[in-house]
Amino acid sequence: MVDLPAPSEECGSRRFSIQTEADVMAVARGARQLAEHLGFSQVRAYHLATATSELATNLAVYAGGGMVQLHVIEDPAKANRIGVELRVEDQGPGIPDLALAMTEGFSTGARLGCGLPGASRLMDEFSIDTSAHQGTRIRAVKWRQPALLPTAPISTEAGSLAPTRTAP
């Protein structure tokens, strides 16, 4: 069994304040380093970092800034299953039509419109709570290993193209 760093609050949590797009890189890098430190495969760490970057960018572009938090969590149902919980919160205008915003290619900012749908695919768990009064709160989790491939270590080379996403 691999030795896990204790997911204590001190080493297991990081907060980032995002005001402009220039703040995004630090949190994406932080997410990637945290995941790699926890023994995530390169691909899974990169998935987390990319999703983090997408959601943090949205904070800067659409919500006038906000907070990103990364927590190391343990699956209460499964011993030794650790993951990174991503919390992204803002007090911006909220997302009026969530289904539309989650559609590939929909953007009110003349961008690609793949941030939200892409991030939700890259993460194992993904939920959004949004309202015009309270802004937008997103919670997402990336587990260190996909649920359906139990103990076998995942190759860090991207040799296998097998899907690594798991059913929720």
Partner: protein
């Protein structure tokens, strides 16, 4: 941050080290396009090895840059797309990067030379140094 553009014969090489802001991206694109026009570049290699994350914003910047270069008639290749980056981009959106990608710079330059050669442009000499 200004992105240096290196010249290897009639190939240009630009290495993006960090996420670019909108302004920096526009500066880079105009620098690159001017340089392509000025030396009548036959190919451009854009190296993204050093980027921490290629998200949809950077993918768009890279794509726009590639289209501009192609409009000027030069070949373009995006280098430094590691397998885990490619896998993530596919998951994000199928056509996120429309240009040809290679794993490293060497392969990128090889690919440019092959493509330029197949265009039958005899002016190109890969080892020419100026």
């Amino acid at each position: 941050m200004k992105i240096p553009i290196l010249r290897l014969g009639r190939i240009l090489l630009a290495s993006i080290q960090e996420d670019l802001t909108d302004t920096e991206a526009m500066q880079f694109q105009s620098d690159l396009v001017n340089e392509v026009a000025e030396i009548e570049a036959l190919g451009v290699a854009v190296d993204i090895t050093a980027l921490d994350v290629v998200d949809s914003y950077m993918a768009r910047v890279i794509n726009d840059t590639a289209s501009m270069v192609r409009l000027l008639g030069a070949e373009v290749v995006i280098c430094g797309v590691q397998p885990f980056v490619a896998m993530t981009l596919i998951e994000m959106g199928r056509d996120l990067i429309g240009a040809d990608c290679t794993f490293n710079l060497d392969q990128g330059l090889e690919q440019l030379k092959t493509r330029i050669a197949s265009r039958g442009d005899i002016r190109f000499a890969g080892d020419e140094d100026e």
